[in-house]
Symmetry: C2
DNA sequence: TACTTGATGTGGTTGGACCACACGCCTAGA
DNA sequence: TCTAGGCGTGTGGTCCAACCACATCAAGTA
């Protein structure tokens, strides 16, 4: 057992037992090192790992933003892990898109019409109507799809959706250059978004799921390869 | 930009550009530190992160197993990340089980009967028949379900399935104690496994998906809370 | 030839030092 | 009295130098 793993175990234990909760603060690195009888280096290595996993956030200085505090950002961990393994060509982009279709169509079929996340999605849709900038449109589009995922009320699916999105974000951005006519594409995407939202509002989960799948795969087909709107 | 993140970027760049591939070796820590004009500490912190993400593996000594080499274990990264966030109570076990049902039933519906992974699943099923030890049975059960997921041919879904499993493994293990009669449960599980395999062999993906969902949710209901066989 | 022994290179760990930063007290001035 | 500045204190960020344990390989020895 390597030293930093001992520190990891200790922190995970504190989290499991509830002695360290969301928003809680870890002891200072030097204090924790002394407490666990290890070097500060080992403590720092453990903190780095948890930071990369979206469990901790380290801040310098003093005050409320300082120190090492517990956060909860599962998307960050899953996202960077997926991105790295895509980089090693071990996770094909095709599989990522396929998984995204799977998760997102499920989320659409399970989305509750009264969910606040769905209201947020509708608001974003309104913003996209008056949007002329391509980059801004895509940013809003991402948030729209994430809100859709949130509306299903499954935190794991939401986190995975976000991470899949993050993993292929650069890739998807490059694809927009392949589009022959961005304006017409944007118009189509807007219309499809409205259709999805309408299906969910009508409690027609089956249609919503199908529309989402078509929506993503349609973009996939049009842009030539791998990442939907 | 913190120093270790610079090292992370450099390594990710090497991976993306293909100059560092699966099985490749990183320069020695001291050499890499000098090359990037940073301290060995920062290099080590970056390596720790990538190690936790299942991208690198560090080995001491000399020879083939020594040095820092590129591996590809997406499951490790996703699994520990999910486990940690479950520990913070930010990802409900209920959502994990629900996601597992979603992914696994999809995998069953897409599994190709001629897949080698499916043959492996059948082999494992045979081993489980002559198995009397509870713990060994559960270990084989895990491998059976993972083989099932692999048979769909989607690396992302396989990795996510494995990570979900890992995240709630301890939890699932504790649940077996709740069962009133393990022997009869094991017999039922075996029969259900055979049914799933048969449906896939008959190219009846729809039935297979439904059987898998029932299989997992049945165990969930019987054990009282959260993790299927 | 077979065994021992040391050199070499790897990651693993440690302690100490210094830096930049941000807050909050505490003093000097208005 | 009230205000504005400076300085002390504690935080993470970085670096360095040294040592350890380990595994291999080559040279030397019986």
């Amino acid at each position: 057992m390597r030293t930093h793993q001992l520190v990891l175990q200790w922190i995970e234990g504190q989290l499991s037992s509830g002695q360290l909760a969301l928003g809680g603060r870890l002891p200072a690195e030097r204090a924790l090192a002394e407490q666990l009888k290890v070097s500060r280096t080992s403590v720092r290595e453990a903190i780095r790992v948890l930071e990369a996993m979206g469990v901790l956030r380290a801040g310098v200085g003093s005050g409320p933003d300082a120190g090492t505090v517990v956060i909860a950002d599962p998307t960050a961990a899953l996202g960077s892990a997926l991105r790295l393994h895509v980089a090693t060509s071990h996770l094909p982009v095709k599989d990522i898109v396929e998984t995204r279709v799977l998760l997102e169509s499920w989320a659409a079929s399970r989305a509750r019409p009264e969910s606040p996340a769905l209201a947020e999605a509708a608001r974003l849709l309104g913003q996209m109507d008056g949007c002329t900038d391509t980059e801004e449109f895509l940013a809003l589009d991402i948030r729209f799809h994430l809100a859709l995922a949130d509306a299903a009320g499954n935190a794991v699916v939401s986190a995975m959706m976000g991470s899949l999105r993050e993993a292929i974000q650069d890739y998807a951005g490059r694809l927009t250059g392949n589009l022959p006519d961005w304006d017409s594409t944007a118009a189509r995407l807007r219309a499809e978004h409205r259709g999805i939202l309408a299906a969910i509002s009508n409690h027609d989960g089956g249609s919503a799921a199908q529309l989402v799948a078509d929506h993503i795969e349609g973009y996939y087909a049009e842009a030539g390869l791998g990442a939907g709107s």
